[in-house]
Symmetry: C2
Subunit: 324 residues, 2 copies
């Protein structure tokens, strides 16, 4: 883990009065768990702490301990000096925090940037950064150890949730022995394993199963390029528009080089999710349509109707695999 300067950091922390933890827009469990977990941990130092986000987090995560304390505006009358610390968690750059930047500029805080994304812009006054860490909560826990802050049931639950979600429940290749060391400490400190598993993996709405039924009926496979589609009608009929994870169904299947999921956004626009295995590079394919991501997972929004989008994207995938 790279901390700009731990002595300097300790001095800044000692000197600061107020810590505001925040994360990226549309925060996931890693951003929420890291912000809230550190907020609770820093209270052990007698600091005034807040978690402030730019807008509402998904109600799916409202069971996270202390998430009811999240604010959507900076507290009024914050001292506008470096003794206020803005602690960003899991955010690659300032614009991704989603705030009007003039508010941050006016506040003029000391910024501590804690993250694990390679793409992090290395902003802020201090960095706590480990691109090998599976989650920002893993980085947060390492910092806690260095500052001699203790885990408790709530903090462990929050940090463990970030670790579970960012590793796909210990599935992805970012899972390393240090991740399991953290998990061990989190469970030993009371992290609510059964609650987290239930909330994350066992509370799919029945409507989503109905939508999956319809989506799965559209399965197509053209020589290792496989796809599913979801029409607006399917979403209306099932009263469900959550299509997260559907593309991943195809990544579980052998022989599929490129997995695609097409979601009808309107009569003339389609959202696509792309996943690759082997040598396929879906970032390159998504970029043809103005989208992007990583070589193995990417997305785009295309100004074409559903069926036209399918035709064009599948064709681009064929080109990429040398099928035409």
């Amino acid at each position: 883990m790279n901390i700009t300067n731990i002595t300097k950091m300790k001095a800044i922390i000692d000197d600061a009065d107020i810590f505001i933890f925040t994360s990226h827009i549309d925060p996931d469990c890693d951003g929420l768990g890291g912000s809230l977990g550190l907020m609770l941990a820093f209270r052990q130092l007698g600091k005034k702490t807040y978690t402030v986000l730019c807008d509402k987090f998904s109600s799916k995560y409202s069971w996270l301990p202390h998430s009811d304390e999240i604010l959507y505006d900076f507290p009024k009358d914050l001292p506008k000096d470096k003794k206020t610390v803005l602690f960003t968690v899991d955010a690659p750059n300032i614009p991704r925090l989603g705030f009007d930047e003039s508010i941050i500029n006016e506040l003029n805080p000391t910024i501590i940037n804690l993250d694990h994304h390679t793409s992090n812009a290395r902003f802020g006054d201090l960095m706590v950064f480990d691109e090998k860490a599976a989650s920002s909560t893993e980085v947060a826990y390492r910092l806690m150890q260095q500052l001699d802050l203790k885990l408790d049931t709530s903090i462990s639950t929050l940090l463990y949730t970030g670790l579970i979600t960012d590793t796909g429940r210990f599935r992805f290749s970012n899972t390393r022995s240090e991740s399991f060391e953290c998990a061990q400490h989190f469970l030993r400190s009371g992290a609510k394993h059964n609650l987290i598993i239930k909330k994350l993996f066992e509370e799919k709405p029945f409507e989503k199963l109905l939508l999956e039924q319809k989506v799965l009926s559209t399965l197509q496979n053209d020589n290792g390029i496989a796809w599913l589609k979801c029409t607006k009608k399917m979403m209306e009929e099932t009263n469900c528009s959550d299509t997260e994870e559907f593309v991943n169904k195809l990544t579980e299947v052998s022989g599929i080089e490129i997995s695609l999921f097409f979601k009808e956004a309107s009569e003339s626009s389609t959202k696509i999710s792309l996943r690759a295995r082997g040598n396929a590079d879906v970032n390159q394919i998504a970029s043809v349509f103005g989208g992007g991501g990583h070589a193995k997972a990417a997305g785009a929004k295309i100004d074409l109707c559903l069926d036209e989008a399918i035709k064009k994207v599948v064709n681009e995938c064929k080109k990429s695999l040398g099928h035409n």
Copy 2:
């Protein structure tokens, strides 16, 4: 962990020449991983070691390191005395090993019984038992530590596979801090995480996805009792008869108290899988039909045609939940 007597065990191990590792019939990754892992570990003591099973293991697991060394008959000319050790892994009792018991009686070995199932019959000359352990491979690793045997890439891969599968990839409530401690050690010692994940979770045959499509189209939900069915025709049309995990799709959904999966075995017999959450006890329901299992997961085979079986079982579930 309860070892009958570690001093006695060390003396027996010192004195023994040949170790035969075995597991239950239709062995899973925990049984296979534990047997093969210990086989390799005991070679560090200079012992002659074999893994012997009563019949073929599933070809799904043929990627497990050293699984090509598995034998299906006891080696000829084994010394018939207590210096031969039969080391049973993950088996609750002798009959579950699947061998003709007269062969074992004739061999008359010292039996070491390593397991984590509460139902273990406590057989054998020595026991290495921990019912809190998530997997037999977790118990095997604890024994290795006590005997100062070292992990290597193959042993770690084998033991980690057992731990992953028996915890449902760290999903089930048997997952505890000690499980993560083991996982940490396994990864640090070179366990092939990406290979295991690929083999276990990313190599579903395409045919199984086609079968899932058909099975999911049969979804029914009657006030918290939900079910799927699979006909012989569906299996013929998709050329797939592997229905494992289908019942678990329903356990991911909120509001479902009892999840059922019905598989047509013949014109007059049906296999059922039952899962419960909350207060429902599916062991009790399965027992009505001559089956059994646990309160939260059970199974049975019923001498009724598919549709008749569905009617009767759903009715029994309704009774159990007080719906009629």
